[in-house]
Symmetry: C2
DNA sequence: CTTCGAATTAGAATAATTCCAATTATTGCT
DNA sequence: AGCAATAATTGGAATTATTCTAATTCGAAG
């Protein structure tokens, strides 16, 4: 488990050569460190341009490949808002997303103490939920 | 308000010439009636091919235009699952969506009696939610 | 009827993502 | 270390849902 202090996110070099059975190549470390570095839910393109700063030869296809690898190994979450480009989130704790309609900014939203969504849904008997996405949009405070 | 009995959905001809300030053209009535006819959450393409049966000259662009008009006037809901093509839902009551991973089928899921989502989210003070989408995926019962 | 804004249409354009085939890197042996 | 097998990366082409454009048609109002 990678530690996720708000202030010190790992540089690519600090990431181990394998996480959770996923081989951490140079590119995957770069992409992962970019996603870990800021909690602003970047798009694949954002990740691409940030990665290019340290690794000018990385390709967009590789960024997509790396993100897909990280997502499918559960190291990064993919976040969707309607038909917008996917965004990527390093916060693995149980949370959902709120998009400020004014700025487009996406904020993590946590569930209140001890709440389990399935408890509030009239799910068919014996349903097994493997994936859940909650996306909200609106205005914040006095904006 | 259009009545929505599970068994008798309106034919295009039965729809009024205007709903909720939206002029119901021949095409919009056709598209709306297709969405109302079945609760299977069709894609724009599904709606297009079903509409073509009764109206062979309708175009896909028009189907997109009509769906957009219906959605923005609140007569139809647009439903998204990850990066899949949007689907359209005639059920305006408060509900969310569950996709059976095995078949791809989408089911409406209602909230349990008196549940209000905002009640269990730690939303920033003064947040006004204008749009909310909850999408679940998984296996059903003994499949 | 005529007018005129709105809706429809076919087809082109867009844009996020995926695919492909070639190259390069890494791993696991001997 | 050398070598073969396997996996990852790359640039560019392809895909595909959706949007745009510009021309035509429709339809409500006068
Ligand atoms: Mn996901
Ligand atoms: Mn919506
Ligand atoms: Zn997040
Ligand atoms: Zn529905």
């Amino acid at each position: 488990m990678i530690s996720l202090d708000a202030d010190s996110s790992p540089t690519p070099e600090e990431l181990p050569p394998e996480i959770d059975g996923l081989r951490m190549t140079k590119q995957r470390r770069e992409v992962f460190s970019v996603v870990l570095a800021e909690r602003d839910h970047p798009t694949a393109n954002d990740v691409f341009s940030r990665s290019q700063k340290r690794m000018p030869t990385i390709s967009l296809a590789t960024v997509y490949n790396c993100l897909e690898a990280l997502v499918s190994h559960g190291l990064v979450r993919q976040v969707n808002f309607e038909r917008e480009p996917s965004r990527y989130c390093p916060n693995l704790s149980d949370h959902c997303h709120f998009q400020d309609e004014k700025t487009g900014t996406i904020h993590d939203v946590v569930f209140k103490e001890g709440v389990n969504l399935a408890d509030f849904l009239e799910l068919p008997q014996g349903t097994e939920v493997s994936h859940l996405e909650i996306s909200l949009k609106g205005r914040i405070g006095s904006n």
